[in-house]
């Protein structure tokens, strides 16, 4: 099994990292420093296949790299991790360009939405890596178990490289996503990221974050 890097120590990185460990992968969680308290706690709870290090350490370690950082710092984190460490690798991008600076509910950063996306910006920053946008449209417990939504929802993948999307879809299957729609190249991240405004309002209206989208067809 390929070695996995998780960039980010928040609840998304934690949940995905723990799920991958359970599935038998070796996982390194990367953060700004190599002594991050949250990363150390995650390692302590996840046994011998779990490790921690800097963003750069993790990006070097991982053969597949999950970007689980907040959208507002994603591009900075990738620069810290060292673009050369992503070369030829599949990068699963879960980030969303959410702008909380204007109050709740968040809007999208204009420079990274509508006619652009974070998925595309990451691909520009890492021209030799294969970015696949996915999983950004559900909460983290649903990410790692689609059934947690209560049904058989749809997940989207966007990316320029067909092999990388195939590799990612195989992982999605392990997360119980049985209905995966390949939207096309990385510019289709614009569509996937544009689901956040309706995600947020559905969550507020229903009081339930454990939902997902199904394309009924």
């Amino acid at each position: 099994m390929k070695k996995i890097a998780i960039l980010g120590t928040g609840v998304v990185g934690n949940t995905i990292g723990s799920k991958l460990i359970k599935l038998g992968y070796s996982v390194m969680m990367g953060s700004r420093t190599n002594n991050n308290e949250k990363a150390k706690a995650w390692v302590a709870g996840n046994g011998n296949n779990a490790a921690t290090g800097t963003f750069s350490d993790a990006a070097k370690f991982g053969e597949i790299i999950f970007n689980c950082t907040k959208g507002e710092i994603t591009l900075e984190v990738i620069k810290l991790a060292g673009p050369e460490n992503f070369k030829g690798k599949t990068v699963i991008d879960i980030s969303n360009p959410l702008d909380f600076s204007k109050g709740m509910p968040p809007s999208l950063f204009p420079q990274w939405s509508n006619t652009n996306s974070l998925g595309e910006e990451i691909q520009k920053l890492l021209p030799d890596a294969n970015i696949v946008k996915t999983l950004n449209i559900v909460n983290c417990e649903v990410m790692v178990d689609a059934k947690r939504s209560g049904g058989d929802p749809t997940m989207f993948v966007s990316g320029n490289n067909a092999e990388a999307k195939k590799e990612v879809t195989a992982i999605l299957t392990k997360f119980n996503w049985n209905d995966v729609i390949d939207l096309g190249d990385i510019t289709t991240s614009r569509g996937a990221e544009s689901l956040l405004p309706i995600w947020i309002r559905t969550w507020v209206a229903t009081g339930n974050g454990h939902f997902a989208f199904k394309i009924v067809r």
Copy 2:
């Protein structure tokens, strides 16, 4: 049954108008002139309960008003129809702020998306009317028959007035929408309108426009 106005003579107005006639409503289709060829053809095909007139004629006639115009002309059309003719009425807004000027696929007009929406702009233009944003997230054949998607999908309603949303939900039920989520006030139109970028890309990827969104929960 309340009298209905349809603003717009395109395929959306045509399809909704015809469905409402079949349901027993009296419907007037409004356009820029009172001798619009498409509106006359629609009347000819729909019997004695169908009529046509100017936008102003239709807005005066209708006790419930459907806005079926393209987003780029919606605000202009409402001004032509005469804001005074909407007073106290329920206005069902199906428009989307799609900008085709930058090529395909369309993006959203920045001034009417993300931190704003067409639903909100219409409400500002018609402070004495009750705008309800709905149906904008599916193709017109699915609008009038949710089952046409092949399942039991979700429809959203957004608006400031609870009674108006109730009235609209009753019409949605006649269109076979059994799962309706009330997102909240008219600002939640931002969420509903933000579904267009993913709608368009799903349509391109699957080659099927007869789909709909289900909130699996």
